[in-house]
């Protein structure tokens, strides 16, 4: 499975790209494969408070809805408006155009506690059975 080395990962299958004090968040390639065709993304409001481990967005496939959890706490500073009309970007480019939101981390060191790519691959493999 595809999990870029430069990203951090949560057990709930979100990826985090740390950019100084902010973090860009999306769902992993493994997660989008499990969901299959994404048809709708419910995004948080800019300014909303994200609490680590709590649902902050939702990704819907035809068959099911899946919560997106905030991997770290902070304030939502940007959401990916392109997903409103093209939610399938989550399937086609989960680590790029398919990013979901950006937050200003309340504790910029918190991301260090997330999994690295190797750890995440093992975690995802254990869940795919």
């Amino acid at each position: 499975m595809n999990a870029p080395d430069e990203l951090k990962y949560s057990k709930d299958h979100e990826w985090v790209k740390v950019e100084g004090g902010s973090a860009v968040v999306g769902i992993t390639d493994f997660a989008q494969q499990q969901l299959t065709d994404v048809v709708f993304v419910e995004m948080p409001e800019v300014g909303a408070a994200a609490e680590a481990g709590k649902p902050i967005a939702a990704v819907e496939s035809v068959k099911a809805v899946s919560d997106v959890y905030a991997p770290v706490s902070g304030e939502i500073i940007e959401v990916n408006d392109a997903l409103r009309d093209a939610p399938e970007l989550i399937n086609t480019d989960p680590y790029g155009e398919g990013w979901i939101f950006k937050l200003k981390m309340s504790d910029p060191s918190a991301a260090a506690a997330l999994m690295n790519a190797e750890q995440y691959k093992e975690h995802a493999a254990s869940e795919s059975h």
């Binding site: 065709d37 939702a58 819907e60 496939s61 035809v62 809805v65």
Partner: protein, 363 residues
């Protein structure tokens, strides 16, 4: 331990994502739900429906018996024709919805929902006591495969030399060497067939259809596509639009109830037909992007009016659609309503059913 259909190994070979459905291990999808849905709308889809139940009802009094326990007037049935009906309790609620096949004047087959096989058989047995009819549950040794889509007839013609039946007709025929009951019916809103054979012959029939259909674009389809297809056609699903506590009049199935004959539940049904039912099933479509789901509350003119019974994202219409059971007087076609999804209201409009009209024609 969940049940497996005779086609379980085929699903595993095809990489199907297996889920538990009503106690059966069945594929929810093989590749992508939307791809399977589109294959059925545009070409052909093949579905494993072996989990459904089949009962034989036989005897000189079988017709009168069925007239007394099924809500629809069966007088129009002839040998070789089948009909959709509901079977009601005394309160007018649905014990089940089913298809009744007239094989001969004294021989019928009922096709019932998988989750209701035991309940239905017990119900029928109790009702049949002293009525001079014989009942047999054939579910265990009967396989059912649904072949649906605009190419379904061409695929059948390549496997079966008999004249194909017209809509709601059925024949006994040799299909690729398998003795099959070929019924021109389905649950997708497309032309197609429901095929019944001995369980031991299911794999042979399945493989023959895939081989003949693949060049025409046929895909094996999972339960996911079955659900989106039936919902676009606004067909009821037991446990959602219908239950022991929902009448067929409430569910919008007036065509399936008789206003004249007497049958179990008919007192309640006749009252509802004359004076209106307490609730009414309506079809709605979201006017903003979103996906309504079973259980979401529907708000009409600022007040809670009922709940979504089935909802999905329509792969054909590319928007959220659903059926909802609302308190009467329910909203009318064209009315604006809200559907509450994860605590947020989404704008929706009441629309005509079905979402997608039957596209098969009558032949």
């Amino acid at each position: 331990m969940p049940n497996r259909t005779p086609l379980y190994e085929e699903h595993v070979k095809l990489n199907g994502t297996i889920v538990d459905f009503a106690g059966w291990e069945l594929p929810v999808q093989y590749t992508r739900l939307i791809e399977e849905h589109e294959a059925t709308r545009e070409r052909a889809g093949l579905f494993d429906i072996c989990h459904m139940g089949e009962f034989d009802v036989k005897g000189n009094n079988a017709f009168e018996f069925l007239q007394s326990v099924l809500s629809r007037d069966l007088s129009a049935l002839k040998p070789g024709r089948c009909m959709y009906s509901t079977m009601l309790n005394e309160r007018g609620g649905c014990v089940d919805d089913l298809f009744v096949y007239m094989k001969a004047l004294d021989s019928f087959m009922l096709v019932v929902n998988a989750a209701n096989i035991k309940k239905d058989f017990d119900w029928l047995e109790a009702a049949a006591r002293g009525r001079g009819v014989s009942l047999a549950d054939r579910s265990g040794d009967t396989a059912k495969l649904d072949l649906q889509g605009p190419q379904a007839a061409a695929i059948m013609r390549s496997l079966c030399s008999a004249d194909l039946p017209s809509r709601f007709g059925f024949i006994a025929a040799d299909v690729a060497g398998v003795e099959t009951l070929v019924s021109r019916t389905g649950y997708t809103g497309e032309d197609g067939f429901e095929l019944y054979c001995e369980s031991s012959r299911a794999v042979a029939l399945w493989r023959a259809i895939i081989e003949a259909g693949s060049p025409l674009g046929l895909l094996p389809c999972g339960l996911g596509a079955r659900d989106t297809l039936r919902l676009e056609a606004a067909y009821s699903l037991y446990g959602h639009e219908l239950s022991d506590d929902i009448s067929p009049v409430e569910a919008g199935l007036r065509f399936a109830v008789s206003a004249t004959k007497d049958y179990t539940g008919s007192d309640v049904i006749k009252k509802q037909l004359a004076k209106g039912a307490p609730r009414q099933s309506v079809a709605f479509a979201l006017v903003e992007r979103g996906v309504p789901r079973d259980g979401c509350e529907v708000v009409v003119s600022g007040s809670p009016a009922g709940r979504v019974t089935s909802g999905t994202f329509s792969p054909t219409l590319k928007k959220g659609i659903g059926l909802a059971l609302l308190n009467s007087p329910a909203a009318s076609i064209g009315d604006s309503v809200s559907v509450i999804i994860r605590n947020r209201p989404y704008a929706a409009e009441i629309v005509a059913r079905p979402f997608i009209a039957y596209r098969g024609g009558s032949k």
